[in-house]
């Protein structure tokens, strides 16, 4: 009998995970719509002005998320790594802006009308501009150094190693900031022109609500920056070489592109955007402390994945969407506002399970990843 050849055992691919996945998805989706239906149609407690207010705050937060998400997407597109310390780069930008406002606020002089004012109130545009310039420069420098110290030596390592290095850098920067500036939560000193809580009053459906000045500044500036970045990537020589490096590093090098230089510049650009986002965050939310970058960082990553990581319009769309979901979601689903972070994480998990390539799709093909 020893000559008998046994037929090879056939391994059936298990259908169970897919089934579980779909059942899980159906349950989540149906309960989601059920909640929406009960809260909005059946209970109908909220007047239109509340929705408008939530929409506005969602757009503002969404703009910040978009800017940070672009940083994740740029780095992921080029290096295929999650720059876990990107939130900390934003935190550094927030601190830089904070110090600029402290300094301009400390410079006092007597104005022509005879009152004593500080520089930040006498020249609000100048001081805001200065804060953004300093914040972006410092954040860009830290992004550049981060890449040079923590990521460049690991260019050829397996994928998880740079991720762990990034986690380490994130912990390091957070704690460095904590030790330098103490764990205290500090207030951002806005110039009076854009003081927090003040804004244009409008009337929606008979109710008054304000559009905050900081919100308008944040939103318009983030749109401008996004537009500038998009044009840069599409049109400029640097953008072209960035796209070339993202497509294929070795071929790009053969075409005479300085790959390391392009990667450095990518980190500088994403650091600049994160720094701007950080100053905006400080101006709008008013708080700065060492942990300020962590949650926006994770959420911006969620936005990048939501829109399709590696895809710049995707990151913008994802950021805006996530900002709105986070701001409108808890009210629309009738859950406590404490759980808005849970909402963001649940969306991240659901997107990664059902459509890992995001809404607009990854630009990269699977084989390369």
């Amino acid at each position: 009998m020893e000559n008998e050849i046994r037929p090879p055992r056939r391994y059936k691919r298990s259908k169970l995970p897919k089934l579980v996945r779909w059942i899980f998805g159906l349950i989540v989706l149906s309960s989601f719509f059920w909640r929406l239906y009960t809260v909005i149609i059946v209970q109908n407690e909220y007047t239109p002005d509340i929705w408008v207010r939530l929409l506005i705050s969602g757009l503002v937060i969404g703009g910040v998320y978009s800017l940070i998400a672009i940083g994740y997407t740029l780095v992921y597109g080029i290096l295929r790594m999650i720059n876990f310390a990107h939130g900390e780069v934003m935190m550094i930008g927030t601190f830089a802006g904070y110090f600029v406002f402290e300094a301009t606020n400390a410079i006092r002089f007597t104005s022509s009308t005879g009152e004593i004012t500080s520089l930040s109130n006498a020249q609000p545009f100048l001081s805001i501009l200065l804060a953004f310039i300093v914040g972006m420069t410092v954040a860009a420098t830290s992004g550049f150094l981060l890449e040079k110290i923590a990521y460049r030596p690991l260019r050829k390592a397996p994928r998880l190693i740079p991720l762990i290095s990034a986690i380490g850098a994130s912990i390091f920067l957070q704690n460095l900031a904590q030790l330098l500036f103490s764990p205290l939560v500090r207030d951002y000193k806005n110039p009076d022109l854009i003081a927090r809580g003040q804004g244009w009053a409008i009337t929606v459906a008979g109710a008054r609500l304000t559009i905050p000045y900081t919100g308008v500044l944040t939103f318009s500036l983030s749109i401008i920056l996004m537009f500038a970045l998009y044009t840069m990537v599409r049109k400029s020589k640097l953008g072209k070489s960035m796209r070339a490096v993202a497509a294929d590093k070795s071929t790009a090098a053969l075409m005479g592109i300085d790959v390391n230089g392009v990667i450095s510049q990518t980190f500088i650009i994403s650091g600049m955007l994160a720094g701007a986002a950080g100053v905006m965050w400080g101006l709008h939310n008013g708080l700065v402390y060492y942990y300020v970058g962590f949650l926006p960082g994770i959420k911006a990553f969620t936005s990048a994945v939501l829109g399709g990581i590696g895809n710049i319009p995707g990151a913008m769309l994802g950021g805006m969407l996530l900002g709105m979901i986070e701001s409108i979601g808890p009210t629309a689903l009738g859950i406590s506002y404490q759980l808005k972070d849970v909402l963001a994480f649940v969306i991240l998990i659901i997107i990664l399970i059902f459509r890992p390539s995001g809404i607009l799709g990854e630009v990269l093909s699977e084989e390369k990843v």
Partner: protein, 521 residues
């Protein structure tokens, strides 16, 4: 001298200068000086300022390190000295400029602690050796001399004759070892390991009774983290899935024991042992629920999803939604301890025994698992998923199994942890816990039990013993993770290849390929 020689040394001096400035800004210099003074037996009260001499010693050591690392290995002695001189001078000039600013602060009496919290006047004075305006010169001289000294040391220690000496010592030691191996009787070879473990076990029985509750606490903490490390190692090290939300499973175990065993909020009082079992079960159930949908994901996405899972669990535990069920942000108090044969078994000594026994059991289980068919399947999946699949390893089941087993260890540790503290709350299960466990694995060495024990001791035990480090612990963690990934991804005590391959006559990898125990994707 040409430019090629000067510019790297200059850069290095500048870098170290900035590092030292950051040290001063976060008060790390005073901490190190305090540690040094402790090392030399000075009795230091917490928060007090050490003697100036120790600061001088620290700066000399720092300068020597700069000199040592600046002198390149293959240069001539004079070149080495020159490099060290340049680096030391740069360092001295950078710090001298910094000293001028610091001195100005002292002279004008400005308090900058509103912005730079750690920069107290006493620490500045200590850093300046209390010398005021001449301290920049002192620093310049000190760093230059120390840097030259460091370089000199390198020249001496790495010279021909020195290396010959070390080689001689090494070969002599190896000869002795071989001789000893040849002379050992057969029974020692066979049972020696077993006897050694027995001896260690017997020895481990007495110390917990003698060395006091604080040491029991520290040993227990390290033991718990070893168990957690083993659990995470099954997931990360053996089956190669990076998991960042491990604390969620830990929370499952802790909360199961707490809810079933505390007067509030439910008052079930099931008893420790059954609830511990339920805790393990709950962790496994959570692992299956998490694992089934996300198992097919790419490595880095999996990491982020598990991170999100961990955060969801923590926020839910804290939220108003579940306050009536889990006690909300205040957590659960008065968790009842275990009993054994009707007797209370919950003094700190007993917990140390429980933890040590569980730890040894976990190590045993881990060792058996690693060599089993499943363990080899895990390694195969980790090394190359496609080849493993082609050889008939079911990827899905094996990965899920690894996740469940790892979660079971976490549940176990969580249950013991909650009962030992008699309290558990959402803050016990922060993201930082997951990161700590991961750091233990990576610093110690993936897939290596001695590595995990060493890692748990250095990262959890040492900061407990040396309280001065406490504030700087996470900073050092983060830095260590980066440095380890760059210079030594296989960990402090790397794993050797499991013997299975050698036994089957595969001589190819007998000495272990570099980076063996590291993380692959």
């Amino acid at each position: 001298m040409n430019k090629k020689l000067v510019s790297p040394s200059l850069k290095r001096g500048l870098t170290f200068g900035i590092v030292m400035i950051i040290f001063v800004l976060i008060d790390l210099d005073v901490m190190v000086a305090t540690m040094l003074s402790k090392l030399f037996g000075a009795n230091v009260i917490r928060g007090s300022i050490p003697d100036v001499g120790f600061m001088v010693l620290f700066l000399i050591l720092f300068g020597m390190f700069v000199g040592w690392s600046t002198s390149s290995d293959d240069a001539k002695p004079t070149t080495k000295l020159f490099q060290a001189l340049v680096a030391g001078l740069t360092l001295g000039v950078v710090l001298g400029l910094f000293d001028l600013i610091l001195n100005q602060l002292i002279v004008t009496g400005t308090d900058v602690r509103k912005y730079l919290a750690a920069l107290a006047p006493e620490s500045i004075r200590l850093f300046l050796f209390d010398q005021g305006a001449i301290s920049p010169l002192l620093h310049l001289g000190l760093f230059t001399v120390a840097s030259l000294l460091g370089s000199l040391m390198k020249i001496l220690l790495k010279s021909e004759s020195a290396s010959r000496f070390f080689k001689g010592v090494k070969s002599g030691y190896q000869g002795l070892q071989a001789k000893a191996q040849a002379n050992t009787p057969n029974w020692v070879k066979k049972y020696g390991k077993f006897l050694l473990f027995l001896l260690i076990g017997l020895l481990a029985f007495f110390p917990p009774r003698i060395w006091g509750s604080y040491n029991n606490y520290v040993v227990g903490l390290v033991g718990l983290y070893v168990i957690l490390g083993i659990g995470l190692n099954i997931i990360v090290g053996l089956s190669g899935q990076l998991m960042l939300g491990f604390a969620a499973f830990f929370a499952m175990g802790a909360y199961s024991v707490a809810l079933l065993n505390a007067p509030l909020p439910h008052g079930i009082m099931l008893g420790f042992w059954p609830s511990l079992l339920i805790g393990i079960l709950m962790a496994v159930v959570a692992a299956v629920l998490l694992g089934l949908p996300v198992m097919g994901m790419r490595g880095d996405y999996l990491a982020i999803v598990t991170l999100g899972f961990g955060e969801i669990i923590r926020i839910l535990l804290k939220s108003d939604l579940l306050t009536s069920f889990t006690g909300g942000p205040r957590g659960i108090q008065d968790i009842r301890g275990p009993t054994l044969f009707g007797q209370s078994f919950s003094s700190d000594i007993d917990y140390t025994y429980i933890i040590l026994v569980v730890m040894v059991l976990s190590i045993f289980i881990y060792k058996r698992l690693e060599r089993s068919r499943t363990g080899r399947a895990w390694l195969a999946v980790k090394e190359d998923t496609k080849v493993a699949q082609a050889t008939g390893v079911n990827i899905m089941t094996n990965k899920l199994l690894a996740l469940c087993l790892g979660a079971a260890f976490a549940g176990l540790a969580g249950g013991i942890f909650a009962a030992r503290n008699q309290f558990t709350g959402p803050n016990d299960h922060q993201l930082m816990v997951s990161m700590n466990i991961l750091s233990i694995l990576i610093v110690g060495g993936v897939n290596s039990i001695p590595g995990i024990i060493l890692g748990a001791f250095t990262l959890k035990g040492l900061p407990e013993i040396l309280r001065e480090i406490e504030n700087y612990r996470l900073l050092v963690f983060g830095g260590l993770l980066v440095v380890m990934m760059i210079s030594r991804p296989e960990g402090l005590w790397p794993a050797t290849r499991p013997n299975i391959e050698k036994d089957e006559g595969n001589k190819l990898k007998e000495n272990g390929a570099p980076g063996e125990g590291g993380l692959n994707d």
